[in-house]
Symmetry: C3
Subunit: 161 residues, 3 copies
Amino acid sequence: MGKIEDRITELGLVLPPPLTPPAGTRLPFHSVHVVGELAYVAGHGPQAADGSIARPLGRVGAEVSPEQAYEAARLTGLAILASLSRAVGDLDRIAAWGRVFGMVNVAPGFDRMPDVINGFSDLLTEVFGHEVGGHARSAVGLAALPFGIPVEIEATVHLGD
Amino acid sequence: MGKIEDRITELGLVLPPPLTPPAGTRLPFHSVHVVGELAYVAGHGPQAADGSIARPLGRVGAEVSPEQAYEAARLTGLAILASLSRAVGDLDRIAAWGRVFGMVNVAPGFDRMPDVINGFSDLLTEVFGHEVGGHARSAVGLAALPFGIPVEIEATVHLGD
Amino acid sequence: MGKIEDRITELGLVLPPPLTPPAGTRLPFHSVHVVGELAYVAGHGPQAADGSIARPLGRVGAEVSPEQAYEAARLTGLAILASLSRAVGDLDRIAAWGRVFGMVNVAPGFDRMPDVINGFSDLLTEVFGHEVGGHARSAVGLAALPFGIPVEIEATVHLGD
């Protein structure tokens, strides 16, 4: 077990299994695509412990509260760590986080997207620390996200040896 | 002619000429910008055979059907391959696709963006195969796309020798 | 002083101090995150000379005119140059711009996002020239941007020695 996996266990966190997409959905791409030292992380949403899409669904500021959305961003982070672990074998191989693009499914009038995506950034800091977990970020409001998920995050990660 | 160009011909596909932007539109950037081994692909939309913006225009789920949007994502792919061909000379130089960011112009209530952007992913698989055509992807709903196009896609591509 | 800093002074431009975020806002990430030769630029908005968020706020096509939004994109560019200068020490280290992702906070019916983001692209050309300032770009309409800013831009930049 690597140090990051140990840290995840220490924190009492559990990484979910691969996404079970909704019936009739075809997703012909990789959750994480490694090219040389770069790992491109596809857009992920929050997942439940069984791999299904986590609830609640809907727009932040209407069906989903900002607090629930913060938690959804954290769950999205766990789903991303799980995909990275499956793709690269050992999360200790992550040398640096590059870009994080945080997308929030917004109801009219909601513009506190940074507070929501902090759920993801805070998780990175807890798990990787300030040095390796540091990243650049955007946190913006989308008109729609797939299947009504409240949060979606994509990222670029740099791998070491 | 390279192998990928041959494959495109075999499939009966035709790459469009450069985009003819709407009158009065200034686009002061590169359709594809190569920096070292990376080719950054600017946001592209669907193009007709004469290089103009393809029809229909509008929001998916209202003026544009999901089936028409799938086709628009496929046409967007052909426009991207055409720009890449002009920028790098030979599509065989593409060693790997990295990140694909699929944007759909959505009407309220439409959230099946993955089904739309599959038109692009399926084209990559047909042309490049599963190995080179593999990619990470997001497929999300935008509030507006330029000139009312239903789909816009940007990407990062890795070049080899 | 580097050549690019000289050019900025010649043009009569002034780079703003670090962003003063709105009260109660926590932004736990880097404005620019350097990993090897890549500088990932977080989403930036327009800043006033004192580092606060520039006015006007709101949606382009409603509270904010296209002309004001062009200017906001230019101010966003100055904020990005300021962050890059603080992160890498000398803007002459910028070897190439890669990807520019321009996001516009749109009112229903507004779809001239390219005209808005031209405020950023034009600034890059003025400051860096066509060679180094060249870039790939998307310019799209978002449902909401943080704190009601009219424009947000993120980018990837390549550094040299």
